[in-house]
């Protein structure tokens, strides 16, 4: 019997010839990540309760200061200090200070730290993002992370795999975000609960690595354990000057078993949003056009990489943010910010009247720099819009891609980008 990519990685990690869905295994971890909200409890549990004095492999751990950093208040400063001290005391090789890293899920891929065929865990639910690079990556809690830091291994239940096949190509204006929102709308926020989402098909061949990261990023929004893509030329090129270790890609066997196969015509997917108050509350853009907004947020590990910012800038060029609306743009990493500066994008944002911030999770989780008040309506390029996610429980959040967000900031209501820009310039479309 053949195995899926996910099963192959878990079999290798557990030192077995093969694994089946439902097996409980103990597996070696290739890379682990924690941040300023999850390292302090993990470090405390590891040292004080588990009695471990050092971490299993300082070269295979990354720590980012991204959630409430730069510190939003005195208590966050303490969490930042504990994170910093633990990382230095343990000799963590891949420690990213404020102003040097950014959001973990952008930083790890861009530094070539999470690679094909690997078993990766992160103490953050969106750690599933890394699977676009053909690895098994999943989110874990702080006790889990403490276990991995102490031992380099962790227990897993081998997931059933759901296969998603995307035929044909996405149409003009339609992005990876629209596709994944559409899929989550079809299967629901628990549609892939504890399962693997394997994404394949022609449509994925034509999209770049940043767009692919958007697709796997939102696996958790369908309840999945991990999202994973095949290795191809796009993956190889992306990793060419980045990969920090040699790697071995994996592919699913032709006779691998899937719990279910979903087939989609990518050419039929329209621009879309998730309406309040759940990521599976999908609607085609046409249904919500004209919805009045108080805030537009372009940020997060989902859609604030350089390609997102290029598209946002193309839309905003020569325009102003509408009266009564505020546009906040938060790059997802320091490298993204440097690149945006080189390309002149920041000048476009500032001239349009946008607030440009340092790289951080910030407003996405209602942390700082854009928290919503009671009754406010926000269009956001982020991943989650459950009640209270970005601030007040009675704030309303719509999720979209970055071009829709930028166009909507110009008009003050939810707007198709073609109302503002005739055509997305070649090369960034």
């Amino acid at each position: 019997m053949g195995m899926t990519m996910t099963e192959k990685i878990l079999a290798r990690g557990s030192g077995r010839e093969s694994v089946r869905p439902g097996d409980l295994i103990l597996a070696k971890v290739d890379f682990a990540m924690g941040h300023d909200l999850t390292i302090p409890p993990a470090g405390k549990i590891m040292r004080e309760q588990m009695g471990a004095e050092k971490i299993w492999d300082p070269d295979r751990v990354a720590v980012t200061q991204d959630h409430f950093q730069p510190a939003k208040d005195a208590a966050s400063a303490t969490l930042g200090r504990l994170t910093r001290e633990f990382s230095h005391q343990m000799g963590v090789k891949w420690y990213f200070e404020v102003g040097q890293g950014g959001i973990c899920h952008t930083v790890l891929p861009e530094h070539g730290l999470v690679l094909p065929g690997e078993l990766v865990v992160g103490a953050d639910s969106h750690s599933c993002t890394y699977g676009a690079l053909n690895n098994f990556a999943t989110g874990i809690g702080s006790t889990d992370l403490a276990c991995v830091l102490a031992l380099g291994e962790l227990w897993f239940r081998v997931p059933e795999t759901l296969k998603f096949v995307y035929h044909n190509r996405l149409q003009e204006w339609v992005e990876a975000k629209d596709l994944i929102l559409y899929v989550i709308g079809k299967i629901g926020v628990d549609g892939a609960r504890s399962k693997a989402m394997e994404h394949v098909g022609e449509a994925l061949k034509y999209i770049d690595m940043e767009a692919r990261l958007t697709i796997t990023n939102m696996a958790i929004e369908a309840g999945a354990k991990n999202g994973i893509l095949e290795f191809d030329e796009v993956t190889r090129e992306y990793l060419e000057d980045r990969a920090k270790r040699p790697y071995t890609p994996v592919s699913s066997d032709p006779d691998a078993e899937y719990e279910k196969v979903f087939e989609f015509d990518a050419a039929a997917v329209e621009l879309g949003v998730a309406k309040p108050m759940s990521p599976d509350n999908y609607a085609p853009l046409s249904e919500v056009e004209g919805t009045r907004l108080d805030q537009v947020f372009i940020g997060s590990c989902t859609n604030s990489r350089i390609t997102d910012l290029r598209r946002a800038a193309a839309v905003l060029e020569g325009h102003k943010v509408a009266d009564g609306v505020r546009l906040i743009i938060t790059p997802s990493s320091h490298q993204v910010a440097i690149q945006a500066e080189r390309e002149g994008l920041i000048g476009t944002f500032l001239a349009a009247g946008a607030a440009w911030t340092t790289a951080t999770c910030g407003a996405c989780l209602g942390g700082h720099m854009g928290v919503l008040g009671e009754g406010e309506v926000c269009l956001s390029t982020t991943n989650r819009n459950f009640p209270g996610r970005m601030g007040h429980p009675k704030a309303m959040v719509y999720l979209s891609n970055a071009a829709v967000a930028a166009a909507s900031a110009v008009t003050g209501v939810i707007t198709h980008p073609r109302e503002v820009l005739k055509k997305m310039p070649a090369g960034i479309a």
Partner: protein, 178 residues
């Protein structure tokens, strides 16, 4: 910390897809190392349940519909519920990271679609953790919980992942000293 055999308490009933930001809004993550403070704000993000934590009596039981604890990986979600005084969570189903976190903490949770469907807010429950039986004194009903894989039950019984890691570290130290 070993688990009690029987838990008795009042049921607090919640709906489906209650995510971690409703269980404990992210702004309280600054109290990540303070279970008591987290407990004061448990379930505060659920519309209509403001002030809930102050009404909880030690030993009470939280019952929820499907996909309980979806969203973030933050372990402060089960920590906040425990901090509020809830002795046991019963749900139709759990989001995986919440489920892992609870088991790893040695915090008792049960999966029972029967109980999730039948139990109403305020019902008096008695739960036999070993037998997996939930008795509803208010309604005179009885529900079964679904069995967990053996390894998870062992983790729960030994008090979670911490003692398991301690044991494994000790084995490695012994092996290294040989």
């Amino acid at each position: 910390m070993t688990l009690p055999k029987v838990i008795r308490g009042r049921a607090w009933k919640f709906g489906a897809n209650i995510d971690t930001d409703q269980i404990i809004p992210a702004k309280y993550a600054i109290y990540s190392l303070d279970e008591k403070e987290l407990g004061k704000h448990a379930m505060e993000g659920v519309p209509g349940r403001e002030g809930w934590a102050a009404q909880v009596q030690p030993g009470d039981i939280l019952v929820a519909d499907s996909n309980f604890g979806c969203g973030s990986s933050r372990e402060i979600a089960p920590v906040a519920i425990r901090g509020a005084g809830i002795s046991l969570v019963i749900a139709d189903s759990y989001a995986r990271i919440f489920f892992r976190n609870a088991i790893n903490m040695g915090y008792p949770i049960m999966q029972s679609p029967q109980a999730a469907e039948a139990v109403e807010d305020g019902d008096e429950l008695e739960v036999d953790l070993e037998e997996g039986v939930i008795r509803n004194f208010t309604k005179g009903d009885e529900y079964r919980s679904e069995a967990f894989p053996k390894f998870m039950n062992e983790l729960l019984k030994m008090g979670g992942l911490v003692p398991w890691v301690r044991q494994r570290l000790q084995e490695r130290r012994v092996a290294a000293a040989r």
